[in-house]
C-alpha cells in the first residue's frame, strides 16, 4: 500500500485522504461545466476546444513500446492546448496548503504539471483534462469559497488577515459575499467580469474548516505536537544531512 504522509493527527489524516487517489474527496457543491469554463477564462463556454496539433491518431506516430504502454489523456489525444488553473489558499485553515495541492494533483490526475509557489499553486494540463479536474476540485472539499480562490494573477492574500466578513483578501475581488452569507464568483481567474455570477455556496464554518484542513497551525493542530510526523521528519533530515540523496543507513 502506498504511503503518503506520516502522522497521527487529524491534519495528517486529511493529507492522506487528499493524496490517496483511492479515496474520494467529499463533494460539497455543484458547479456546472459552463461555469467552470467561465471561471477559468481560457475560452468562451460552449465553444470548441482550440488545438495545438492534430489528433494523435492522425499524426502517424512512430512505433514505440512506451507509447503503447502509456495511453495519452483525452486532451493530449485530441491535441488540446495546455492551459492552467491556479489556486490561492489562505493560511487561516484553508482546506488545502499549496504543497499538498501539488502532491494531490500528481497522485490524482494524469498528464498534469503542478507547480507550487509561496502562496499559490498552479496546475497545467491539456484543456479538456483541465476542465474536468478543475470541476472536481471546485466541487470538492478541497475548495472553500472564503478561504480559497481561483486566481490566475494578482494572487496576494494567502498570508494576509481575513476581511471583516471572513473572506480572504483579494485585490481584484473575484468572489463576493452576498447578503445571505453565500459567496458568488463574479470574475474569472484573471479578473475579467463574468456575464453572470457563479454561486459557490456558503463558506465552511471555522469548526468544519479545522476538521478538514491540511494546514498545521499552532492555534489548530501543531506540527510539533504530532510525534510520529516529527520522528519521520527528523529521520529524513538526518539521513539527508549525513548521506545526501543516497542514504545507506
Amino acid at each position: 500500500m502506498a504511503q503518503f504522509v506520516p502522522g497521527t493527527s487529524k491534519v495528517a489524516a486529511n493529507r492522506r485522504k487528499a493524496l490517496d487517489p483511492t479515496k474520494t474527496l467529499d463533494k460539497v457543491r455543484d458547479v456546472s461545466d459552463d461555469d467552470v469554463v467561465a471561471i477559468l477564462g481560457h475560452r468562451t463556454p460552449g465553444t470548441a476546444y482550440a488545438s495545438t496539433h492534430p489528433p494523435l491518431s492522425e499524426m502517424g506516430e512512430p512505433e514505440d513500446p512506451m507509447r503503447e504502454l502509456v495511453k495519452p489523456t483525452e486532451g493530449a489525444a485530441a491535441g488540446d492546448r495546455i492551459r492552467y488553473i491556479q489556486f490561492t489558499d489562505s493560511m487561516y485553515f484553508a482546506p488545502m496548503v499549496p504543497y499538498v495541492r501539488s502532491w494531490m494533483a500528481s497522485t490524482r490526475f494524469r498528464g498534469v504539471d503542478p507547480g507550487t509557489l509561496s502562496g499559490r499553486q498552479i496546475i497545467e494540463a491539456r484543456e479538456r483534462d483541465l476542465d474536468k479536474l478543475s470541476k472536481m476540485l471546485l466541487e470538492s472539499e478541497a475548495f472553500d469559497p472564503a478561504r480559497s480562490g481561483v486566481r490566475g494573477c494578482t494572487v496576494h492574500g494567502h498570508s494576509l488577515r481575513l476581511d471583516q466578513n471572513g473572506m480572504m483578501f483579494d485585490m481584484l475581488q473575484r468572489s463576493v459575499m452576498n447578503p445571505d452569507g453565500s459567496v458568488s464568483i463574479v470574475k474569472d481567474q484573471v479578473g475579467r467580469p463574468l456575464d453572470k455570477a457563479v454561486p459557490v455556496g456558503k463558506p465552511m464554518s471555522d469548526a468544519d474548516l479545522k476538521s478538514r484542513t491540511t494546514i498545521y497551525r499552532v492555534d489548530g493542530e501543531a506540527a510539533r505536537a504530532d510525534k510520529e510526523l516529527i520522528t519521520y521528519i527528523q529521520r529524513i533530515h538526518t539521513l539527508r544531512t549525513m548521506w545526501g540523496f543516497k542514504p545507506m543507513a
Binding site: 494573477c153 494578482t154 476581511d163 471583516q164 485585490m171 475579467r192
Partner: protein, 161 residues
C-alpha cells in the same frame, strides 16, 4: 543619576492593529470618532493596496471593481480609500489621548485589536523628501504620503489647525 527621563522630542505615536481587514464602512465610522477626539495630530490608514485598474495579466488596465475601494466621508472631507485598512497609525499630542482612542476603537471595531506604541510616522525628512519637495517647513506633512502616489493629504478642519 536618573536616566529614565522621557525624551520630549519623540512624539507619541501608536498603531492600532486589527484582527481583520476592515470594511470601508467601519473605517468611516472609526475615523469619524477619531475626528471628535482632541489631541490626534496625524493619522495614516494602512493596508494592502487596492488598485483602480487591474495591474497585471490579460485584463491589465481594465477598471478594478472592488467594494472596498470607495470614498468615505470624514467630517467635511471626502477621502478616497485606496487600501483595505488593517492598521491605523496615529500621532498624539500626549499619552492621555491613548485611552480615548482605545475606548473609541473598542466601541466601533467588530473584531479584536492591539494598540502598539512605537514610531510609525517619520519625524525627519529623508533624502527623497528633499529631492522631491525641497526644504519642508511644515514637518507635519512628513511621512504622510506614499512617495510613489499622487494622492493628496487629507486635512480635517484645515482652518482651525
Amino acid at each position: 543619576m536618573d536616566t529614565d527621563v522621557p525624551d520630549t522630542s519623540i512624539p507619541v505615536q501608536i498603531e492600532i492593529f486589527t484582527e481583520r481587514l476592515l470594511s470601508p464602512e467601519t473605517v468611516e465610522r472609526l475615523v469619524t470618532e477619531f475626528a471628535k477626539i482632541e489631541g490626534i495630530t496625524r493619522l495614516i490608514l494602512h493596508g494592502p493596496r487596492i488598485a483602480s485598474a487591474v495591474p497585471t495579466g490579460p485584463a491589465k488596465g481594465t477598471p478594478n471593481v472592488h467594494a472596498a475601494r470607495r470614498h468615505i466621508q470624514v467630517g467635511q472631507q471626502d477621502v478616497e480609500l485606496g487600501v483595505q485598512v488593517g492598521r491605523f497609525w496615529l500621532e498624539l499630542e500626549d499619552e492621555d489621548v491613548i485611552e480615548q482612542v482605545e475606548e473609541a476603537s473598542r466601541r466601533i471595531l467588530p473584531c479584536g485589536f492591539q494598540i502598539n506604541r512605537g514610531l510609525y510616522i517619520r519625524t525627519r525628512p529623508t533624502q527623497t523628501d528633499y529631492a522631491k519637495w525641497g526644504v519642508i517647513k511644515d514637518t507635519r506633512v512628513l511621512g504622510m504620503t506614499d512617495p510613489k502616489s499622487k494622492s493628496r493629504i487629507c486635512a480635517i478642519y484645515p482652518r482651525e489647525r
